[in-house]
Symmetry: C2
Subunit: 245 residues, 2 copies
């Protein structure tokens, strides 16, 4: 197994960091890695905001409810960004562009572009012995985050990522069995894969070193999905000109 | 620079492969890498279909208009998948779940989950000297792809990925300057970054070894965005129960 695959398979989300900022070189390496990711039709339809201002970090820690959004080596907010071509367009061209800017296709393209870039940065960080955690909870209040970062129309925050020198070593979290997520030639329902995973995950939750509890994956998902959440994401997304048709 | 960062920075999309299928070990490594990616709230909201049936590959090559979708070491279709929790739910629970299943938040979560997994698989492949190319053009006819793979409700195809032993070595494609995509604390419009990139990319297109032409990034983007495309993605996405509210 080569070093890269070892790094990838060794991933665990880090939620406690030493009080050491990223070096300029680490930051630059993460950004270069992000930028070299594949991008749909060369659009590079994302931007990254590095948040260093203590007041902004405090505010983001409040929105997300997570202390490590404040205390880390560096905090990134990944954004879907269709603004660059808009910036270069005449008024007439802009009018002609709206059908694409506002459709599901380009909401998808820009979200996927941002995610591919982020995952490259994550792997690069982990290969340098840094830890990372994605921060989906910026979507607890997307319009506040949007305002905080002064994002123009056709740019929306999608998720954050914290990085830094790890100050804990959590267990590697189990994943669904391969036969539950990979199928050949056509989709196959896999109740059995989920059930065997539930048995496995019950053991994991009972035996892990911190925050142990009695739970299964299915129970977790049913609790989560039966409680409507972040129903206002649509409002901000559409207000910023995405995903309207 | 470590081996992982070297692999990441060395990425170029490969569109011509030797006639050598992936080994079982390579396939397994790519899938394990995909599965170890971060996932929003442990949802693992994606599935991967490996397409090996020659007729299905032929059909997908037709839809995408790309020969290398047929001729490669392995073809993957990455899907957003919210079906697994649905499968485990009672009728009553399912009713309660609809608000989440159908909102933008979970369209985003499942697309990002799929993209993070895919990028891990891509980097793992490249670290084993395989090449990859993402295939966005399955969205030329998403409902045909959906039918071809027998995807149930709450599962949609997002993009493909071809993999295999490279049979060409294209140039590494330039990216926007870092100051055009990375900002500290707030968004900054960067016309200058785009303009300097346009000058650079004109040179690249004129000097590259194959398919050379006169073009700039801005011209490419304006041509692309002023022509409405894939306006029917929304229909399939919503028909499958995603992104409806």
């Amino acid at each position: 197994m080569n070093q890269t695959i070892e790094t990838i398979l060794n991933h665990r989300s880090i939620r406690k960091f030493k009080d050491i900022p990223l070096t300029d070189e680490q930051l630059d390496t993460m950004l270069s890695a992000a930028q070299q990711a594949s991008t749909s039709s060369y659009m590079m339809a994302y931007s990254i905001i590095g948040v260093t201002d203590p007041e902004k970090k405090e505010k983001l820690a409040e929105i997300t409810g997570q202390k490590y959004v404040k205390n880390n080596g560096h905090l990134f907010i990944y954004c879907a960004d269709l603004h660059r071509p808009v910036m270069m367009a005449s008024d007439e061209e802009y009018e002609q562009m709206l059908a694409n800017l506002e459709n599901s296709e380009h909401f998808l393209v820009s979200s996927v572009d941002a995610a591919l870039a982020a995952q490259n940065a994550a792997i690069a960080a982990e290969s340098m012995d840094l830890g990372i955690c994605y921060i989906g909870s910026i979507r607890n209040n997307l319009s506040q985050v949007d305002e905080l970062l002064s994002l123009p129309k056709h740019v929306i925050p999608l998720f954050g990522m914290v990085t830094g020198v790890p100050d804990h070593q959590p267990e590697r979290k189990p994943r669904l069995p391969q036969k539950g997520i990979y199928f050949e030639n056509e989709y196959k329902e896999s109740t059995q894969a989920v059930e065997s995973f539930d048995a496995h995950i019950k053991e994991y939750y009972q035996s892990r070193s911190s925050n142990n509890r009695i739970d299964s994956w299915t129970d977790q998902m049913l609790r989560r999905f039966t409680t409507p959440m972040r129903m206002d994401v649509t409002d901000l997304v559409q207000k910023k000109g995405f995903n309207k048709r």
